[in-house]
């Protein structure tokens, strides 16, 4: 049989279902965030691993200039090498009707008479290649969709200077091009970068690689010594122009995907705990105030002879019903929204399938935190109530002694009317309770401030990068370093206003045990179109006496100005250099390493070479410019800033950064929940007082003022607290969002702060309106007659 106390529990919960649900929802949101983010990160990780395994992605990639096929046997004999595949990998340009500039593409060979042992592709539409036909290609699914291409369509591509037309027979996804990004770009852009696969024989003919290959893919055996394999592969390929073997972790697509997932992981570890902590703090405050208002009933139960333990257990169940209810709600919706988020990211990462998985740890943490904070909130108050004798507990708390607030009244007597003085004195009388309410609302508001600042900072980062740092319109890159005379040719094109040459050299940077596979960017000493900046976005000169590193890269290599960095050049004669580090930059995108252009060329003993140029053009003549560039030989690609910016915006809206919108929404709901709960509890605590005021002749509005005045006062005091806490919280959260790919400095826009203030004020107004309705509905006789 259900005991009467349990019946009381059930009915009390039902009676205050509105409040109980409001509290449960706040804690649920904290838990939801944790479970959702954990599910998202785990699932992406698991899915990626499974995808790599099923399609046998290589463990080691070894590019080489040109090696004959028989070298593969030598590579296969290396200890630790499990599977080997040689392939041809080359750049191409695709001409599409109506497109002003050619689109960069990557051509990849597939074995002619068998499925690839390594780096297989996933066919989404059409069929695989027919080895007897040399004009068939498989096209990357993402590009095909962005351009409305499909099996049966034809495509012309220029490879090695020759233009050919191919028939698309199938669309594929590939674990190697999860993140399909053109060389030198940061953000994937489905419409502007293509990958196509074709028969080994046909591609060999196009690149003069018959009976040879220019990249080895290696699958490692179990217990392989990774470093030793790299070393032996490099030695085997050395005489054929090996460009340095590297592992999967340095493979471009995998690196970007890993960065994105780890960005999500960092923000999943950093942000949800903050949300959960705020929710837990609120739960603590709400529960303690709720138990406080049950004081008389506690006294009564004790008068009947219920022990502290029995009464405690009763309220513990009450608290747990709300806390566990909230946690369960959070878990369920966390799983649902986690799944939805994964589906969203699936679009972005282009996994062909999805493995959804949440670690039990997330559930347990969510439950543990909600249960512990709720119990704490309850226990702290129960202990205080238990310390009272039942006779005292049963009486409504003795009228609080407002005498030391009296002088204050004298002071303000002329200024304030009676109800205002009631509000003020209650404040002074119970500073602890007021402080808790202020902190509660302030913390909730801090979440909103922080998330709005995060949103503004993302926009500002984009803005700074594409206006202050990058002031070019077009970037032209060449197939190989060319003489700087090319620059004059570009300058003479009608419509080109300014030209700034650059040289990119593929390198591995080393310092102690840290290394980074990237490029050195040779720039003119005083760049105008693509600038490096110091703190505060002040442009700096590019030095010729040493390397200037992006802060993020300096951190990664654990190096600082004054140290010497080892540079392994991965092209040309591949010299090994030692250069001093002379400065750091505060760049926002990527991790560049700068050296003045002619100093770089001198160091490489290749004077007057450029790999491309940044252009500023007359927008009225852009088509003339594009046409001129299209007809220039040796152009490997053209990228338009407008497109790059758009691609980057997409990256940040759909990638790890996309999470900021979800977080902002949840922050808003939590903020509202806190304000609403504060108003509700204040009403519950003062119900009798307000009824008394009504009885002695106060109008509804006057009585409500006592309550709403307090809410207003607390809210206005909470505003500065929220602004301050939000300021620091935003720094912490932004740190979590920054990755190797982009760094997001905090941008404290007055509008973000203003919006948070407006949101809290609006939440207070709505809550006040709801409570005001309850004041109007108050049954005077009932609430005064019976002590409940």
């Amino acid at each position: 049989m259900v005991s009467p106390l349990d019946k009381k529990l059930g009915r009390d919960l039902w009676h205050m279902k509105g409040q109980a649900v409001a509290i449960a929802v706040v804690i649920a949101l904290g838990v939801l965030m944790l479970v959702m983010m954990d599910g998202l990160v785990n699932s992406l990780d698991e899915t990626r691993a499974a995808y790599y395994e099923r399609y046998r992605l290589a463990d080691v990639f070894a590019p080489v200039k040109r090696a004959p096929d028989h070298v593969l046997r030598k590579v296969a004999e290396i200890d630790g090498v499990g599977a080997v595949e040689g392939r041809i990998f080359g750049g191409a340009l695709i001409d599409l009707d109506g497109e002003p500039v050619p689109i960069r593409a990557q051509a990849v060979s597939l074995p002619d008479f068998s499925a690839p042992r390594i780096n297989d592709v996933h066919l989404t539409q059409g069929r695989r290649l027919d080895p007897r036909r040399k004009d068939e290609i498989l096209l990357l699914d993402g590009f095909a969709h962005a351009r409305g291409l499909g099996p049966g369509d034809s495509l012309s591509a220029t490879m090695n200077g020759a233009r050919r037309t191919f028939e698309i027979v199938g669309l594929v996804q590939s674990p190697e091009f999860l993140y399909a990004v053109a060389p030198g770009e940061f953000a994937p852009n489905d419409a502007n970068f293509a990958v196509f696969w074709m028969s080994r024989e046909a591609l060999g003919a196009a690149f003069d690689m018959e009976g040879a290959f220019n990249e080895v893919l290696i699958g490692l055996g179990r217990n392989a010594d990774f470093e030793a394999v790299l070393d032996l592969v490099d030695r085997a390929l050395d005489q054929y122009g090996g460009l340095g073997a590297y592992g999967l972790e340095d493979q471009v697509s995998n690196r970007f995907v890993t960065e994105e997932i780890s960005g999500l992981r960092v923000s999943s570890r950093g942000v949800p705990p903050v949300f959960l902590a705020v929710a837990a703090f609120l739960l603590y405050i709400v529960i303690s105030r709720m138990v406080q208002s049950e004081r008389e009933q506690i006294g009564l139960l004790k008068a009947f002879g219920y022990s502290n333990l029995e009464v405690g257990a009763h309220y513990f169940k009450f608290i747990m019903a709300i806390a566990i209810g909230g946690a369960i709600l959070g878990c369920i919706f966390g799983i649902l929204s986690g799944r939805a988020m994964v589906e969203l990211y699936l679009n972005y990462f282009k996994f062909p399938f999805l493995i959804f998985e949440v670690e039990p740890k997330a559930f347990l943490t969510g439950f543990f935190v909600s249960v512990v904070t709720a119990s704490l909130g309850g226990m702290v108050v129960l202990r205080k109530v238990f310390a009272l004798t039942p006779a005292v507990a049963m009486r409504p708390p003795a009228p609080a002694d407002y005498s030391h607030a009296a002088r204050f009244g004298e002071l303000t007597k002329r200024l304030l009317d009676q109800p205002s003085r009631m509000v003020i004195r209650r404040f002074i009388r119970q500073p602890g309770r007021a402080a808790a309410a202020i902190t509660g609302i302030g913390t909730g508001m801090a979440l909103s401030v922080a998330m709005l600042t995060v949103l503004a900072s993302f926009d500002e980062m984009m803005n700074i990068n594409f206006t202050v740092l990058d002031r070019s319109d077009v970037t032209v890159s060449f197939v190989e370093p060319l003489s700087d005379k090319t620059i004059y040719n570009l300058q003479n094109v009608d419509g080109v206003i300014e030209v700034e040459p650059f040289r990119f050299v593929s390198v591995v940077l080393r310092h102690d045990r840290q290394y980074h596979r990237g490029a050195i960017s040779g720039q003119v000493s005083k760049p105008r179109l693509n600038r490096a900046v110091a703190a505060g976005n002040v442009p700096i000169l590019i030095r010729d006496d040493g390397i200037t590193l992006a802060q993020s890269l300096a951190d990664k290599l654990r190096i600082s100005p004054g140290d010497t960095i080892v540079v392994e050049v991965r092209e040309g004669r591949r010299p090994l250099l030692e250069l001093p580090v002379v400065g750091v930059t505060q760049n926002l995108l990527g991790s560049p390493a700068y050296l003045e252009l002619s100093a770089l060329n001198r160091t490489l003993k290749e004077p007057g070479r450029v790999s491309g140029a940044y252009l500023r053009i007359d927008s009225a003549k852009s088509n003339t410019v594009y046409l001129a560039i299209k007809n220039m030989p040796a152009v490997a690609g053209v990228s338009l800033k407008a497109q790059a910016r758009e691609a980057f915006q997409v990256l940040m809206d759909q990638g790890a950064g996309g999470m900021r919108f979800v977080m902002a929404a949840i922050a808003g709901i939590i903020t509202f929940g806190i304000v609403y709960n504060s108003a509700r509890i204040a009403f519950a605590e003062r119900e009798r007082d307000i009824a008394s005021l009504r009885v002695i002749g106060f109008t509804k509005a006057e009585a409500a003022f006592v309550l709403l005045g307090e809410l207003g006062l607390i809210t206005s005091l909470a505003l500065p607290v929220g602004l301050l806490l939000g300021h620091y919280l935003s720094l912490a959260i932004l740190n979590g969002f920054s990755t190797d790919l982009y760094h997001i400095p905090a941008f404290h826009a007055p509008s973000s702060y203003g919006m948070a203030v407006a949101a809290v004020v609006a939440a207070a107004a709505i809550s006040g309106w709801i409570v005001n309705r309850d004041v109007a509905k108050l049954d005077l006789v009932a609430s005064l007659k019976t002590r409940e």
């Binding site: 009390d12 009676h15 008068a303 502290n308």
Partner: protein, 243 residues
């Protein structure tokens, strides 16, 4: 120990010596009790009179184990209440005492029967909840919630709740204070019945001096002390009391 044996061994239910109670400290100190000595024999119906602030409620709270004395001693039978810890006081209330309050103090979320069961559940030798409700004439209102009952009915539920555990002592603080005279008499009748049928010692605090006519013993409180103790040779029935 069985009730009858105990009653034979001790004729006195409550005894107190020099009980004082001070609320607050320093200037704000309020002396609610200034040395109360009393004796209440087992099975009597005692009416406690006195103006507001005379200390009568405080004294009853201390005797009922709801509050603690600042100084002095109170015995219930052989046990010194003033020496008990919280757990012992809880056991004392649980097994020996019933309370009836001026404002009924029913749990609004429980029905009449469930309010009674709240007590029968933890008592040693309770009567059936329905039986207790029948004793106060509310058998057919058992499934009503407090909000559906009149003031008198609510007070009778409170009495049923108090007597359901078959307490040795029943404390009633202004049980008729919130009721009209007709309902008040009915409630007093129930209390008298409990006193006579269950043999419980009943202490009733009241403002209504006329109630004293139904008591065995009348304690008059003033200024934190007992000013006068009077014994009635002939008791009136509640129905005969002038209100």
């Amino acid at each position: 120990m069985p009730k009858s044996d105990r009653a034979a061994a001790h004729s006195i239910a409550f005894r107190s010596e020099g009980v004082t109670k001070v609320y607050g400290i320093g200037d704000a100190a309020v002396h609610a009790l200034r040395g109360v000595d009393l004796e209440v024999p087992i099975g009597e119906l005692v009416v406690v009179l006195g103006p507001s602030g005379s200390g009568k409620s405080t004294m009853l709270n201390i005797m009922g184990g709801l509050d603690r004395a600042t100084a002095g001693s109170v015995w219930f039978m052989n046990d010194e209440l003033t020496a008990m810890d919280d757990a012992a006081l809880t056991r004392f209330r649980r097994h020996h005492v019933g309370f009836v309050f001026q404002f009924y103090n029913l749990m609004p979320s429980l029905t009449a029967r469930e309010n009674v069961e709240l007590v029968t559940e933890i008592a040693d030798n309770p009567m059936d909840a329905d039986e207790a409700l029948a004793l106060v004439g509310l058998k057919d209102r058992a499934n009503h919630f407090p909000a559906q009952l009149s003031g008198g009915e609510q007070q009778r539920v409170a009495i049923a709740r108090a007597i359901a555990k078959q307490p040795e002592v029943l404390f009633c603080d202004e049980p008729t204070g919130a009721l009209d005279s007709k309902t008040g008499r009915a409630v007093l009748r129930v209390l008298k019945d409990v006193n006579e049928r269950l043999g419980a010692t009943v202490l009733i605090i009241t403002h209504a001096a006329a109630t004293a006519a139904m008591a065995d013993r009348v304690l008059n409180f003033a200024d934190g002390k007992i000013r006068e103790v009077s014994l009635n040779d002939t008791k009136l029935d509640p129905e005969e009391i002038e209100w």
